[in-house]
């Protein structure tokens, strides 16, 4: 076995040459662990993310919106499945990952620890949250780990469609009755700051950033991605005649950036540590579905075993027949 340091140097050289690392290739243990962390968190986020939007499927105001929202939440389940399989390429088992989530050991994106209080929330989640996810995933699509990059490319396409649907809901509300405009502004006020937190802590406090950049798992820093999202979204909000809930927001001619007031990082770390409005309820809902489905999963296994035994015995008969 080659010396660890040499292996690491060769690995870094492949990264610097923009090569994709594939499941069977050698990789530093830390590289594997970082990717398992990121990819499983991403998968968990897709699954838990089904709940806040799922809360409005039964109250969607038209048949078209009902079907579009149901299809969107279904897509998220698909993304979760896809990401769990991609994570399994790193030698971890999907059910172990899900157990970590259900037993509170694994993290998922903070944004889903906030409640969806009105139909406007469904629009703003599509517009802001999927918008932020796209900014993140477009970058991750160039990630050095092959399976993750490919997963991002596919998921990004569907997220773009989801974002357009969400934005379109918000345009309809903005052009609607005074109550609908008020409902939209209230949702923007509640989702703006938590969405900015989705990009993670500022660069100077981001524990993983340096290493992830070096290994080209990430190609841009949290603050760069955040700024990119802000620059896209602020003009869209103003174009709808809506306000951004940030008195210190201003446009910087020189850099072409929209500059924002301070982010409340205390709230960020508090919610991450499990003390947001819906942390307990999200996990309870996932656990309930898992526990109430146990007898179904057992039946599937028992039935499959019976089918195999029958197939084996008929095969035996045929061969002895």
């Amino acid at each position: 076995m080659k010396d660890e340091a040499i292996l690491e140097a060769e690995f870094q050289a492949r990264i610097d040459a923009d090569e994709k690392i594939e499941p069977k290739d050698w990789m530093p243990e830390r590289y594997r662990r970082q990717l398992v962390r990121m990819m499983s968190q991403h998968a968990h986020s897709e699954i838990v993310g089904m709940l806040p939007e799922g809360n409005w499927i039964t109250r969607a105001p038209t048949l078209r919106r009902k079907m579009a929202l149901l299809a969107k939440v279904q897509d998220e389940a698909g993304h979760g499945l896809y990401l769990y399989s991609a994570t399994e390429t790193l030698g971890v088992d999907r059910y172990q990952l899900i157990r970590d989530l259900l037993e509170g050991r694994a993290k998922y994106s903070n944004i889903f620890n906030y409640p969806t209080l009105t139909w406007a929330d469904v629009g703003v989640i599509g517009w802001f949250v999927d918008g932020a996810a796209i900014v993140n995933q477009t970058m991750l699509a160039k990630s050095s780990y092959g399976p993750y990059a490919r997963a991002m490319i596919r998921i990004c396409k569907e997220e773009a469609f989801h974002k357009r649907q969400g934005y379109e809901i918000c345009v309809t509300l903005a052009r609607g009755t005074p109550e609908q405009r008020r409902m939209l502004q209230d949702a923007i006020n509640r989702w703006w700051w938590p969405t900015l937190m989705m990009f993670g802590p500022p660069d100077d406090q981001s524990p993983n950033s340096a290493e992830l950049l070096r290994w080209k798992v990430k190609r841009k820093t949290n603050d760069e991605l955040r700024q990119h999202f802000i620059n896209i979204t602020v003009p869209q909000v103003l174009a709808l005649g809506m306000a951004i809930p940030d008195p210190e927001l201003r446009y910087d001619e020189k850099t072409g950036n929209w500059l924002i007031g301070p982010i409340d990082w205390d709230e960020f770390w508090r919610v991450i540590r499990g003390h947001g409005p819906c942390n307990r309820e999200r996990l309870q809902a996932r656990r309930k579905a898992h526990e109430e489905g146990a007898w179904v999963r057992e039946a599937v296994q028992a039935y499959a075993r019976k089918r195999q035994q029958q197939a084996a015995s008929t095969a035996a008969e045929v061969s002895h027949g």
């Binding site: 799922g54 105001p61 279904q74 499945l81 139909w119 599937v300 039935y303």
Partner: protein, 260 residues
């Protein structure tokens, strides 16, 4: 026969009939959508969402056509979100709460077997727009039938627990199957006009297919009870529909006239 060449005398009966098919699909789709995010495991969560999307798609097509036949400018959304319980025409089976996974699957199986036969026959409907909808719906319902039949065998012949739950669901749902094949004046009128199939002729096939799968699933076919639930086709439902509509219709009721 198209919308334009439709005999005016048939419009009331046809409007009623399209509400029946449309409301069945709408309410069943709504109950199925309640599983989204709460299924026994991810793959089944996705499958149930597919079933719900198919149903809601049928509902939109059928209710849109119903509005056109009625001729008072009502859209599918008006019919879905602005009628109260006693103006709904779905069979009671589809409005029952989703219960556990065995209840939902057993209902799917009993209903999909019926819907498959119905839409297959409706492909020959003299009313062309309906025949068109039926052609697409039949393809989708064949998948629904395969999915739920496979699950019935799995639950029935899986573990003691899944067998018990499936049998309980079957016993509770059986009193709601008779309504699927009720024949009244509305249906007779449309059968004579070759717009709707003769439901009485479909019932034996339905029974045969259901019993075949139940046998493979080692489940017992319940006795036909003295009282088969009825009334849904005349606006008399269970106490569950009102609660379902209160949730489903809230936004259109609370913000009348708003566009969404």
């Amino acid at each position: 026969m198209t919308l334009e060449t439709l005999d005016a005398a048939l419009r009331p009966a046809l409007f009623e009939y399209l509400l029946r098919l449309g409301d069945d699909a709408l309410i069943l789709g709504h109950r199925l959508s309640e599983w989204c995010g709460h299924g026994p495991y991810l793959e089944e969560d996705i499958a149930l969402a597919n079933l719900a999307l198919d149903c809601l798609g049928h509902a939109e097509a059928l209710l849109t056509l119903a509005g056109e036949v009625e001729g008072r400018g009502r859209t599918a959304d008006d019919l879905a979100f602005l009628r109260d319980a006693y103006d709904f025409r779905n069979v009671q089976m589809v409005e029952l709460p989703r219960g556990d996974f065995a209840f939902t699957i057993t209902r799917q199986f009993l209903f999909a077997t019926y819907a498959c036969l119905l839409y297959e026959a409706l492909q020959q409907s003299a009313f062309e727009p309906l025949a068109g909808i039926a052609a697409k719906a039949h393809k989708e319902m064949r998948y629904h039938l395969r999915h739920s039949s496979e699950w019935m065998r799995c639950l029935g012949d899986g573990t003691d627990e899944s067998h018990r739950r499936a049998q309980t669901a079957l016993d509770e749902l059986w009193m709601y199957t008779g309504e699927l094949f009720e024949v009244d004046d509305t249906l007779r009128t449309l059968t004579e006009a070759r717009i709707a199939p003769d439901m009485a002729a479909l019932q034996p096939k339905w029974r045969e297919q259901v019993e075949a799968v139940l046998r493979e699933a080692t489940l017992t076919v319940p006795e036909d009870p003295p009282y088969m639930a009825t009334g849904g086709r005349r606006g008399h439902h269970t106490e569950h529909l009102g609660h379902l509509l209160a949730e489903m219709q809230f936004l259109q009721r609370a913000y009348p006239g708003a566009q969404w």
